[in-house]
């Protein structure tokens, strides 16, 4: 358990570590890797490092990074088989982007705690293998906990994994959209990216919405249960670090992300506000206090209005119809228990 706790905690903040790295080559060998006919978008590109890798790199980002381990190679194969990159590019195909968005899966910095991120310098979304490995483990752990402790509403292992992974990817896509479309972000961008991760699946029917929201909510509920919300007196900085220390008793409140609980409550509230019938069981089961629940319709409307004003004009409606008509998760991935 302890090992898992540490890993879960580390995933939260690992995203930025690799963002500053340079891409290894000039961005010339762009590739569309077998995107389904009718779902291509010339501005969304799977970026190959080696010819034929379809954007699933066999290495990390650094030019001298070694080939990934056999274990990671197997994970990479699973992703390729599931066509994660291709399907995500297809899913985003209605977006009319003014600048090209690159997508890859890679070993990122090579750390076991890398998390998917958007790199605004290169307009790149990078899905780190290490995160996917951790998401698989997290899903196993959370389902195990659920089976023994019945903490939350029922969930299947595949639903949890798919939802968690999709929510993280949608969150990073939020950052990409804010950047590429020059969206005015008045609130905190990390919350705004969570809002995007909640809003998009809510436009794709009950099953998709429940899978993504559940994956997100379980993950952050568990983080909160592990004591990851900020507390007074918690030292934030490693005492051995040469960096200046934070001397305030409330330093752990300084993160630009919301706390684990806040993120969970925000997303459940938006889901409930957008679709009270589908997410009623969350409120009934006490995931969201009544006092917050009563204002969720307004919160969702505010978000919907922001989306309609700032993002909707960049969506090709004809293409959107095609995307909405497709099923994006497998039957296993939407299975509730």
């Amino acid at each position: 358990m302890n090992r898992e706790d540490i890993r879960m905690k580390s995933i939260l903040h690992a995203a930025v570590l690799v963002a500053a790295m340079f891409l290894p080559a000039a961005l010339t060998n762009w590739a569309f890797a077998q995107v389904a006919p009718g779902f291509s978008n010339s501005k969304i590109v799977l970026y190959e490092k080696e010819k034929g890798d379809r954007g699933y790199w066999r290495t990390g980002l650094a030019s001298d990074s070694k080939q990934i381990s056999p274990e990671r190679m197997a994970l990479r194969e699973r992703m390729m088989k599931r066509r994660v990159l291709e399907q995500y590019a297809e899913f985003l195909s209605p977006l009319r982007l003014p600048y090209t968005l690159l997508m890859i899966a890679s070993d990122c910095s090579g750390s076991e705690w890398d998390s998917p991120y958007y790199d605004p310098d290169n307009h790149l979304i990078n899905m780190c293998y290490s995160f996917i490995a951790e998401a698989e483990k997290s899903a196993d752990l959370l389902v195990q906990l659920q089976n023994t402790q019945k903490l939350w509403t029922p969930v299947s292992r595949d639903q949890l994994f798919a939802g968690l992974f999709a929510s993280v990817l949608l969150h990073e896509t939020g950052h990409a959209i804010f950047d590429l479309l020059n969206v005015p972000v008045f609130g905190r961008e990390e919350d705004a990216a969570d809002f995007m991760a909640a809003f998009i699946p809510l436009q794709f029917g009950t099953e998709t919405a429940r899978t993504v929201i559940k994956g997100f909510a379980y993950y952050w509920a568990y983080s909160a249960a592990q004591g990851q919300d900020p507390k007074l007196g918690t030292p934030r900085v490693n005492p051995n670090s040469p960096e200046p220390q934070c001397r305030l008793s409330f330093c752990s409140f300084s993160d630009e992300h919301g706390s684990a609980s806040q993120r969970m409550y925000n997303v459940i509230c938006l889901a409930y506000g957008g679709d009270p019938v589908t997410f009623k069981d969350f409120v009934d089961a006490g995931w969201l206090p009544q006092q917050r629940a009563q204002d969720c319709t307004r919160e969702y409307q505010l978000l919907s209005a922001a989306f309609n004003k700032t993002v909707l004009p960049f969506i090709d409606q004809e293409q959107m119809k095609k995307v909405r008509a497709r099923t994006w998760f497998t039957a296993e991935e939407t299975k509730e228990k």
Binding site: V185, F195, Q262
Partner: protein
């Protein structure tokens, strides 16, 4: 603590006077102001003090450059709580109860009258600008990505930093001290609130201030007030709220009147009585 580090002049400065008789003509403003008389006798002194100092009239003049499609009302009122649960349309309300709560908290935390006065004034400016920002969002139908009350804080912080270091020092320092002195402990379902904990709000304000005025607030990392990890992101946070302002609110700001507003000395420090 923050005050000690950043605003030595607070020690020497005393009562903040609001320069209500500013140069810009208030009648051009689309902002209406009102002091509602409280029925609770204990709130009477606050009501009288605010009225005497004409704080809302100064806000009114301050907001003259803003050309809104319909009027915005800023008022002080007895709310029955520190904030209103149901906000009336197009209206920013500063509750007497909030000011009373601020005064109570400050009196518990410091016996330095000058410091107390500065924090109270800074906290008032924060409260008024926060509520005004929410009303501006509403009137201009501004798209809000992220939590609305954080957005109002970020806009309020941006405004505070646009009118020179005296305004910035008073407003940001007062705000930061107040949030630092917060006595609320946040646990469990407290985090379900639509508003952020005062300690998070502290860093949101301080971060914008740090990016806007590195000379004035630049020592906050060395002093252990702003963790380096957050400090590295402050410029980005500042640029983002600035860009959002330029895109969505600046089109409603008269550039000539803005110059006048910025050239106006807003906060005048008077010697202690």
């Amino acid at each position: 603590m923050l005050s000690r580090y950043t605003t030595h002049s607070l020690i020497t400065a005393a009562v903040l006077m609001w320069s209500a008789a500013s140069q810009a003509p208030a009648q051009q403003s689309q902002v209406q102001v009102a002091y509602d008389a409280p029925t609770n006798a204990q709130l009477q002194p606050i009501y009288q003090r605010l009225k005497q100092r004409a704080v809302l009239e100064e806000m009114q003049v301050f907001l003259t450059p803003l050309h809104l499609p319909r009027p915005l009302t800023i008022k002080t009122a007895q709310c029955g709580a520190t904030t209103l649960q149901q906000r009336p349309a197009d209206t920013a309300t500063v509750c007497y109860e909030m000011i009373a709560a601020i005064e109570r908290l400050v009196s518990q935390r410091t016996s330095d009258r000058n410091l107390a006065q500065s924090v109270i004034i800074g906290a008032f400016i924060q409260t008024a600008l926060h509520e005004t920002s929410r009303a501006i969002f509403e009137i201009l139908d501004v798209p809000i990505w992220g939590r609305e009350r954080d957005a109002a804080d970020r806009l309020a912080a941006l405004i505070m930093t646009q009118f020179g270091e005296d305004v910035s020092r008073t407003a940001i320092t007062g705000t930061a001290d107040l949030f630092m002195w917060s006595d609320k402990t946040w646990t469990g379902s407290d985090f379900s609130d639509t508003g952020s904990p005062d300690y998070q709000r502290f860093f949101n304000y301080v971060c914008i201030a740090y990016a806007a005025a590195p000379l004035q607030f630049g020592d906050m990392v060395d002093r252990g007030i702003l963790p380096k990890r957050r400090a590295e992101r402050c410029q980005g946070e500042y640029d983002q709220i600035r860009r959002a302002f330029d895109l969505r609110i600046m089109p409603y700001v008269d550039p000539d009147l803005l110059i006048k507003a910025r050239a106006t000395p807003w906060l005048n420090w008077a010697p202690p009585k």
